[in-house]
């Protein structure tokens, strides 16, 4: 079979675009695994090439803002900030999908509208509330805000998913005398596992990647999250791009790995959240 000329051109274009797109990432990767004097005039010069993990070790044990502790802190915040809203929002989403009461649709529309609100809109009062509760510099405060903040989109996403489930099974269980809660966790939740996986992947990534909420609630240098440590590693007069690149790679490694391993759930979540929503 003759390969058409346009097919070749399209392949060349597509793969060149991919290559160009990846260049900045490649640059940071190359800088992170090489001593800084080698990349001083461009990481694309390979006259000297001595790869090592020194920069990673240095970033991990940075004297002012060790990234290792930051990564641990980020996990401590991101895991509960994923699980709590997943559970809480699933309950509410099931209610919105199955129970009818007078102002249900208005409350639901209101919750959807909340999704558009920028974090800046809650920043000042949240800081004041947490300050008066003594929860500044405390992960409980940050976790509560992240959980509440994630609820709106998870409720929307899970409610749309629950609406696609056949109602007959639940009705049969109800006829057999099962309570609402029992139906929810014995029948509905197991069927919702793929959707919950999408929620977990997206919510975890957003919390891990978040910078703003951490910035306004966590100040203690011991407790800073991973994303907060990155800007602090950039010195004022001299930038050690080697260490900074290594730190960047470490912080982005977590969401990139999750994306690589759980891509199916990520994309389903993304598409379901936007297009169908």
């Amino acid at each position: 079979m003759k390969i058409r000329k346009t097919t070749i051109i399209i392949h060349v274009i597509a793969w060149s675009v991919a290559l160009i797109w990846i260049l900045p990432f490649l640059g940071v990767l190359m800088t992170s695994i090489r001593p800084f004097n080698e990349v001083l005039f461009g990481w694309w010069n390979f006259a000297d090439f001595h790869p090592s993990f020194n920069n990673f070790v240095e970033a991990w044990n940075h004297p002012n803002v060790p990234l290792g502790i930051g990564m641990r802190n980020s996990f401590l915040v991101a895991i509960p900030s994923t699980l709590i809203p997943m559970l809480v929002a699933s309950l509410a989403a099931y209610g919105f999908a199955r129970f009818s009461f007078p102002i249900r649709d208005y409350i639901f529309a209101f919750i959807v509208l909340i999704m558009a609100v920028p974090q800046q809109m809650i920043a000042v009062p949240i800081f004041q509330i947490m300050n008066s509760l003594g929860l500044v510099d405390n992960y409980v405060g940050l976790i509560l805000v992240h959980s509440a903040w994630g609820l709106a989109w998870i409720i929307l996403f899970m409610r749309n998913f629950f609406l696609t489930l056949p109602i007959e099974i639940e009705e049969a269980a109800r006829v057999d005398g099962a309570s609402d809660f029992k139906i929810f966790y014995k029948i509905v939740l197991p069927m919702a596992l793929p959707a919950l996986a999408s929620v977990a992947v997206l919510q975890f990534m957003w919390v891990w990647n978040d910078f703003f909420l951490a910035l306004i609630l966590i100040f203690d240098s011991e407790r800073l999250l991973a994303t907060q440590r990155i800007p602090l590693m950039r010195g004022v007069f001299f930038v050690d791009w080697g260490v900074l690149s290594a730190a960047s790679i470490l912080v982005m490694m977590v969401p990139v790995l999750i994306y690589a391993l759980l891509q199916k759930y990520y994309i389903q979540g993304m598409i379901g959240w936007t297009v169908k929503g």
Binding site: L144, A152, V275
Partner: protein, 306 residues
């Protein structure tokens, strides 16, 4: 089919309400109340006197938000125009560029072998924390070490090389083009999903009728992708209005030299947490939210009409 509503205070009714209770409590305490509080603060002076819309007039006349003097000079001095203007410039460049690059890529990649690898490469920017994205942008545009200047040198344009983020004239534009690089993956993925919903028969019919690929695109593909376009436009607009992390880390906490790349979200943070002027900060936040709500309501109304 409807489930019968039990009387309001019966046990089953209370159980059903308890499904909503934890979510509503969290949302009311940590979202609704703070939002209302922010609106409230924006109408009061620092000494807690009601001042009506004075804060809004005050904020909009600050040169950090709209720099009237520099705006009137036009593009001869294209920097420090004020955060609101910068957000608008951001939208006018970033929205069409990222939307159409995503669309074109989605269409091209339908017929490419290994398209999923190419897509993953482009989508990487969406997965990366924005704080890291900002660092990568800064690095990419840096003199000597950055690839942008490397390419310029390669093309013989050595006199153009510089640390793009460090100069007032170029900070904003370097960031905007960099953010296109980070965000195009989103529109590509949404359009890719949309393209799979268009039946093949439409294209076959168009081919039989002898329609050019140009016409096929404008009469079949693009109209059928309208829901995706609405989604991409909305989400991109919201993202552009909320932009914060990459400016913070790539241009600096004050938004670059002379505030040349300052944006609304960053100015809000600066007023709130560096100047401790909560009233001004709340006013900026309210303006920002008003903008995002207008966009969201427009999208929801479109989606409901459909």
């Amino acid at each position: 089919m409807r489930i019968k509503i039990p009387p309001f205070f019966s046990l089953p009714a209370l159980i059903r309400k308890s499904f909503f209770a934890p979510a509503l409590i969290l949302i009311v305490f940590f979202v609704v109340f703070p939002v209302l509080q922010t609106v409230y603060i924006s109408f009061f002076s620092p000494s807690d006197e009601f001042v009506g819309f004075d804060n809004y007039f005050d904020v909009l006349s600050q040169k950090e938000i709209v720099n009237v003097e520099d705006v009137s000079k036009g593009l001869s001095q294209p920097f420090g125009l004020g955060a609101l203007v910068h957000n608008m410039i951001w939208i006018s460049i970033h929205l069409p560029l990222s939307l159409f690059s995503g669309l074109i890529l989605a269409i091209i990649l339908r017929d490419v072998k290994g398209a999923s690898i190419v897509k993953s490469a482009i989508f990487l920017g969406m997965v990366t924390p924005m704080i890291v994205g900002g660092i990568i942008l800064r690095f990419t545009f840096e003199k000597n070490v950055g690839i942008v200047n490397g390419l310029l040198t390669f093309l013989g344009l050595e006199q153009l090389t510089r640390s793009w983020m460090a100069y007032a004239e170029t900070t904003l534009f370097a960031l905007i083009f960099g953010s296109v690089w980070l965000w195009t993956g989103f529109s590509m993925i949404v359009y890719s999903a949309g393209l799979t919903t268009i039946p093949k028969e439409y294209y076959e019919a168009a081919k039989i009728d002898g329609a050019s690929s140009f016409r096929t695109f404008f009469h079949i593909t693009f109209p059928l992708l309208k829901p995706m376009t609405i989604t991409v436009v909305t989400m991109t607009l919201l993202w552009e209005l909320k932009i914060f992390d990459i400016v913070f880390v790539a241009a600096g906490v004050s938004g670059g030299p002379g505030g040349a790349a300052n944006v609304l979200a960053l100015q809000m943070w600066n007023w709130a947490f560096r100047a401790f002027d909560f009233n001004r900060a709340a006013t900026v936040a309210t303006i920002l939210t008003a903008l995002t709500l207008v966009i969201t309501i427009w999208m929801t109304r479109y989606m409901v009409k459909k």
